[in-house]
């Protein structure tokens, strides 16, 4: 069968919402989910698909946002939704986009831009599915968005540490004990920075936090409009995994940014742009001490002064020694000498 000459592979044009009052009313992630009180990731799902609109297909890899959201007979998804395997968000996005493209290109399906979004948790995205996401970000002819909702643990399976869990955090795989206070000694993987740095033809990588909802939705809209495969990393405070009062979810998201632990930025066509309070930090505004963030959470309750200082020192490095502050961990030449 021949190719349809007029097929353009265009994306939807999703202009940014100009303020919270301009955000559309329609919800495409509705009642029917069973997430925890204060679950930020459920909000991320809701905002993500609100930003995308009705002509969207969502693929969800295994994790909280699969298990807690889609109990049979009570799906919250108004748009078509499908499960994909834990390490398959990249492949799900690619396969769905390729299927649609092939059918439209060959005239077997009405041609129209359909958003394809695959989401994954930090386990599915930063650990198991990283290879597939990386591959998808090189396939520039398929339009899709991969959104990583990072609640910093395998939160659906009893809170086990992932490659995205912060240093020292108490998880069921890293319980503090008398012999070893710090079981988890690895520093959190810099997933967004790595994916932006490693995929020269990926046109859009961004970090978001739902504490800043309009900014978050507009980044989703840009990611879907710009064309090709794109990636968004969302930091999602998790009352169950982080052990805090559910009312503090938004506040913790804000603190993660104000302390400089999780920077908000986008890399559009290779150009880095900082957002909000992260931009203020880059411009020289002092960061809040990390202890303000860490000590509000039970997962760091076993930290002693030494641990807080170590954590602060590592975060300081992100802003004082990294060539691209908060984004890429290549150090400035002088910084290496200082580090010895």
């Amino acid at each position: 069968m021949a190719e349809i000459a007029t097929f353009s592979n265009a994306t939807q044009v999703l202009e940014p919402f100009k303020g919270v009052k301009k955000v559309t009313i329609e919800e495409y992630f509705s009642s029917g989910h069973r997430t925890c009180q204060g679950c930020e990731s459920a909000l991320v799902m809701k905002l993500m698909v609100k930003a995308a609109g009705p002509r969207t297909i969502v693929l969800g890899s295994t994790g909280c946002m699969y298990v807690a959201n889609t109990t049979y007979y009570s799906t919250p998804w108004v748009v078509p939704w499908m499960h994909t395997q834990l390490g398959s968000s990249g492949s799900a996005a690619l396969g769905t986009a390729a299927g649609l493209k092939a059918l439209m290109k060959k005239g077997k399906m009405k041609a129209e831009p359909i958003n394809v979004i695959a989401f994954c948790g930090d386990g599915g995205g930063a650990d198991m599915g990283l290879g597939a996401i990386s591959a998808t970000l090189t396939h520039k002819e398929y339009n899709s968005l991969i959104l990583l909702y990072d609640n910093e643990s395998y939160a659906n399976t009893d809170i086990q540490l992932s490659g995205s869990t912060p240093y020292g955090a108490h998880t069921t795989f890293s319980p503090p004990g008398k012999a070893r206070r710090i079981m988890h000694t690895r520093w959190k993987k810099n997933t967004a920075g790595m994916l932006a740095a490693g995929h020269p033809e990926c046109r859009y990588v961004a970090t978001v936090c739902a504490s800043y909802a309009v900014e978050m939705m507009n980044k989703v809209r840009k990611a879907l409009s710009i064309g090709g495969p794109t990636f968004i990393h969302s930091l999602d405070p998790c009352p169950k995994g982080w052990d805090y009062d559910p009312m503090l979810s938004h506040e913790l998201g804000e603190l993660a940014i104000e302390c400089g632990i999780f920077p908000l930025y986008e890399v559009e066509e290779g150009v880095v742009k900082y957002y909000g309070k992260t931009k203020a930090i880059v411009d020289g505004r002092p960061r809040k001490p990390v202890r303000e963030y860490l000590l509000k959470q039970g997962r760091f309750a076993h930290f002693i002064e030494e641990d807080l200082e170590y954590f602060q020192g590592k975060v300081d490095e992100m802003w004082t020694k990294w060539e691209l502050p908060g984004v890429a961990c290549f150090k400035k030449d002088g910084a290496r000498a200082v580090a010895g």
């Binding site: 002509r55 297909i57 078509p80 499908m82 499960h83 398959s88 396969g95 299927g99």
Partner: protein, 409 residues
């Protein structure tokens, strides 16, 4: 090379080509107008992907050709493409197929009618490129329909039949076509390649209907069902597999009607079984040495026949029980192993034994494990199987249930 064939009744509508098993499958995929195909290199199946790449670059086929970063992604990508309505193809060999295992599990459960080629290959370790059937057999319990072929012609024909069966709404299950590594994937033979218009009479377009993932059909696919629904869903899969007995027979009958060729019996090929005292059984290309050996043995007055199993899932147990009812002894040659299995037999021997358990006539059945890792199944090996079967037939019982043949001592 292409020359017009003399064969009737579709004489004008088929061309003869000298092509390998892998190339024959690529011809069928072009005729089936597949939409999305994913490739990843592993010998020997990857020759099919090389052949498809040439079809696409040469303008013979319009399809998305995606080179994945591993077999897990390779199978996931086409699984998802199929859910939006694309006709897809995939494949692998040996440990590559094993690497995709998680995706192979979910594909039948999601009722995705993918067609895959397995270029059968020994599993690691140690490394071997040669054929063993254990790779494809991994998925025998999961809802994949499995068949084995032994010629380029059968490769082409079975690929068309596979799409017809898999995409039948009564089935909606994936099909894996197994081709013995090297012996079939890389060996060329004269093959009849039909015209597109003829194929269109046999193979309708793929319509996913109310299971299609599309904004116009906003469904939620594969939610968490837990103990509330899993067993009902498994039973639906089982029912689809059982319906495959009918759908496969219909497809072969229609294939014969449209193309004027193809077997009457889809399930297995019978070679000189009419009067056979000893029936040898096996799958894939071992049919060639076995047939040669049978002809030689017939010259010596030994009435030996062959049943070459095509379809392993669904397993044609009733048809086999009928076909084997006159045999005095049965010898099943397995190009696979199943360590710790009943009688230490290979997978096919174990299945045939189970198929005959309720049969009225249960001749002695001996399992032979032979030709592993691509080792040749020699005429001597086949003579040996017949000899052992004759002894069992005379004694009315088996001395040993399983023999390993052609093994260095």
């Amino acid at each position: 090379m292409t020359v017009a064939t003399q064969a009737a009744p579709a004489a004008i509508q088929e061309q003869e080509m000298l092509i390998s098993g892998s190339e024959a499958i690529a011809e069928a995929l072009t005729l089936a107008d597949i939409d999305v195909v994913t490739a990843y290199p592993i010998r020997p199946y990857d020759t099919v992907m090389q052949a498809i790449a040439k079809k696409i670059s040469g303008g013979k086929l319009v399809a998305e050709y995606i080179v994945a970063e591993g077999e897990h992604s390779q199978f996931e990508i086409v699984k998802h493409a199929s859910t939006v309505g694309a006709r897809v193809f995939c494949g692998s060999s040996g440990v590559g197929w094993a690497y995709a295992m998680e995706c192979l599990v979910v594909t039948p459960a999601l009722r995705v009618p993918m067609v895959a080629m397995v270029g059968n290959r020994a599993l690691d370790d140690p490394g071997a490129f040669g054929v063993e059937h254990n790779d494809a057999l991994f998925v025998r319990d999961l809802g994949w329909l499995l068949c084995w072929i032994d010629s380029s012609q059968e490769a082409l024909d079975t690929t068309l039949i596979a799409y017809r069966v898999a995409e039948d709404r009564r089935i909606f299950l994936p099909i894996a076509i197994s081709a013995d590594g090297a012996f079939l994937t890389h060996s060329q033979a004269i093959t009849k390649v039909p015209s597109k218009s003829l194929v269109d009479k046999f193979l309708p377009p793929y319509h996913r209907g109310d299971l299609q993932l599309h904004p116009d059909n906003p469904i939620t696919v594969a939610p968490q069902v837990n103990e509330d629904w899993v067993i009902e869903i498994r039973r639906q899969n089982n029912a689809a597999t059982e319906r495959a007995y009918t759908v496969i027979e219909e497809a072969y009958a229609d294939f014969r009607r449209v193309f004027g060729r193809g077997p009457e019996n889809p399930w297995f090929e019978e070679y000189m079984t009419e009067d056979a005292e000893i029936i040898l059984m096996g799958m894939g290309t071992l049919s060639l040495p076995v047939k040669v050996a049978i002809r030689k043995m017939r010259e010596d007055g030994k009435k030996v026949g062959l049943i070459r199993l095509r379809w392993f899932r669904p397993f044609p147990y009733e048809q086999l029980a009928r076909a084997l009812r006159k045999a005095r002894a049965i010898g099943v040659i397995d190009r696979d192993y199943s360590f710790g299995s009943p009688f230490g037999s290979g997978v096919v021997a174990t299945e045939v034994r189970a198929a005959l358990y309720n049969a009225e006539h249960r001749p002695p059945l001996i399992g032979f494990i032979c030709g592993l890792g691509g080792r040749e199944v020699t005429l001597e090996d086949v003579y040996k199987t017949a000899e052992i079967c004759y002894s069992a037939a005379k004694a009315g019982k088996t001395e040993r249930a399983t023999y390993w043949l052609g093994v260095r001592e």
